[in-house]
């Protein structure tokens, strides 16, 4: 877990019940607040012994947890294992969850810290195992169409090459920068939410995000200039 100590960000492994979330409470939109209230009710039931209620939380957040882990690791098998471990850790520690932050933030913090620990342990082992880009997403379909029209290349091979280059550029980022980019650009979290999850200040999040984008732009320049 990242702790902001004297202006320096120190990274610790996952000990969710020990490290308290720093700073003020999460500034959430009304939708997030309603969502957090509903999650808190389910968490209370689980804490009272209704373990089956935890299945609802798994169904609700499994795709988002898997997405953040997958985008951090670029490996589908590792993402599956780490997402499962995230839910297991949350299940084992849910009786210590006090509701000081939203369950979503708490669960994301577990996922991020588990993934960062895994990436540090396997720093030397890095290979891609990518999911297929779904054409059902309208935004993705538009982007792919624009790229292939400009390049005049065959669609499937071009998308495959773009996906490889994109994940390669992401893996070239440091873990901290990759986390911020993933949470902000892919998962759509706000700066405040990222700051609470990573344990850094909002300014640090913005700085890291800016620096990471510059690096990615340099890496993916051939695709951007088409």
């Amino acid at each position: 877990m990242d702790l902001h100590l004297g202006g320096r960000c120190v990274v610790y492994p996952v000990v969710m019940d020990v490290v308290k979330s720093p700073g003020k409470a999460l500034v959430a939109s009304p939708e997030r607040r309603r969502e957090a209230d509903g999650d808190w009710e389910v968490v209370r039931r689980v804490q009272d012994g209704d373990f089956a209620a935890f299945d609802g939380l798994i169904l609700k957040y499994r795709s988002r947890v898997h997405a953040i882990v997958y985008n951090l690791t670029s490996n589908r098998e590792d993402a599956s294992d780490l997402a499962q471990d995230t839910f297991i850790k949350a299940f084992q520690s849910i009786h210590r969850f006090q509701g000081q932050s939203s369950f979503f933030t708490w669960l994301y913090r577990i996922a991020v810290n588990s993934t960062l620990s895994h990436l540090r342990k396997n720093r030397m082992r890095s290979f891609f195992s990518l999911e297929r880009i779904s054409e059902d997403e309208p935004v993705a379909r538009e982007i792919v169409a624009a790229l292939t029209d400009k390049a005049g290349a065959e669609k499937g091979a071009y998308v495959h090459e773009l996906q490889d280059k994109l994940n390669e550029a992401m893996q070239k980022l440091s873990i901290k920068h990759r986390t911020v980019v993933t949470l902000f650009e892919i998962d759509g979290l706000s700066h405040e939410e990222i700051a609470e999850i990573t344990g850094c200040s909002v300014g640090t999040v913005r700085s890291r995000l800016h620096y990471a984008k510059r690096l990615l732009q340099a890496e993916l320049q051939p695709f951007l200039n088409q």
């Binding site: 898997h66 299940f91 880009i133 993705a140 538009e142 982007i143 994109l166 951007l224």
Partner: protein
């Protein structure tokens, strides 16, 4: 979005493409199954090691007798092995200053050897003044020669020295003197080797065999102690034929000699007439059967 602005793609657009990397629906079924297994494994907590202590106590309480017997057997084996090693380590002690032919002869345990040395030295010190005063006797015969060789050898290498202590005082003195002279002669002539001397010593020492080897008590054969069936039958017949002379003690042991010793011809004829055995030939056959 792309069509609206007609602008070159940005890095945000490319990163948005990664949102479309999603697993297939089949993946989620497998994901849920594996997560269920892990969740169940997490619910079943691993028992700590100290939970096995009561079970161990019950096992010990149930099998304490056999455990105690096993522990005793192991302890006895260890002690026995330790004693065997202590004995075996001192089994062969090379004698310093002794020829190889003699030193190669296995000697007794060091403790026994030390006791023998001390005893022999004491006997030698007692015998030396007497030997110096006594005149040289002419008993240095062939029978005394091995004893002389024994005394002249190194004290350490002669476990048979205590045998001299069994002799009377004056005899020991004389023999020590004879030993010295005989060995000196042997060494001078070189005619007899040390090994031969030691060998003849063991043979020539009086009653060596009976001393070195403890005499066994004569063991009677169990079958020889049992009365033979024929003897029992004979005693029974005689008891019936001669009730006056056959008591229970006589019937029990060696009836033939006792009966024959006491049986006179007159009484035999009288008893035979009482049982209608009239002829002399029949009486002789009775007497013959008693004898054999």
């Amino acid at each position: 979005m792309i069509d609206d602005r007609k602008q070159p793609l940005t890095i945000e657009d490319l990163l948005r493409l990664k949102r479309a990397e999603r697993p297939s629906p089949e993946f989620w079924s497998q994901f849920e199954r594996e997560l269920r297994e892990k969740q169940l494994a997490a619910i079943v907590e691993k028992r700590p090691w100290w939970c096995a202590i009561p079970g161990l106590y019950v096992f010990v309480a149930r099998h304490r007798l056999s455990l105690a017997a096993s522990a005793s057997a192991v302890a006895i084996c260890l002690v026995g092995f330790h004693a065997y090693e202590a004995t075996a380590s001192g089994a062969v002690v090379p004698a310093s200053g002794v020829p190889d032919s003699v030193a190669s002869v296995p000697v007794a345990a060091p403790r026994l050897l030390a006791a023998a040395d001390e005893y022999a030295a004491r006997q030698f010190n007692q015998a030396r003044p007497a030997a110096a005063s006594a005149p040289a006797s002419g008993e240095s015969g062939r029978n005394e020669r091995p004893v002389a060789s024994l005394a002249a050898l190194s004290v350490q290498s002669l476990p048979a020295i205590p045998l001299l202590g069994d002799l009377p005082q004056n005899t020991a003195t004389e023999r020590f003197d004879a030993i010295s002279r005989s060995l000196a002669g042997d060494l001078a002539t070189g005619g007899t080797s040390m090994a031969e001397g030691a060998r003849s010593l063991l043979v020539g020492v009086r009653d060596f065999g009976s001393r070195a080897i403890p005499s066994r008590a004569s063991v009677a054969e169990p079958l020889a102690q049992m009365p033979s069936p024929s003897a029992e039958r004979r005693s029974r017949l005689l008891a019936e034929a001669f009730p006056a002379m056959a008591g229970p003690a006589d019937m029990a042991s060696a009836p033939s000699e006792r009966v024959l010793g006491r049986l006179s011809d007159d009484r035999l004829y009288a008893s035979g007439g009482r049982y209608d055995v009239a002829t002399e030939r029949e009486l002789n056959s009775i007497k013959f059967s008693i004898r054999f």
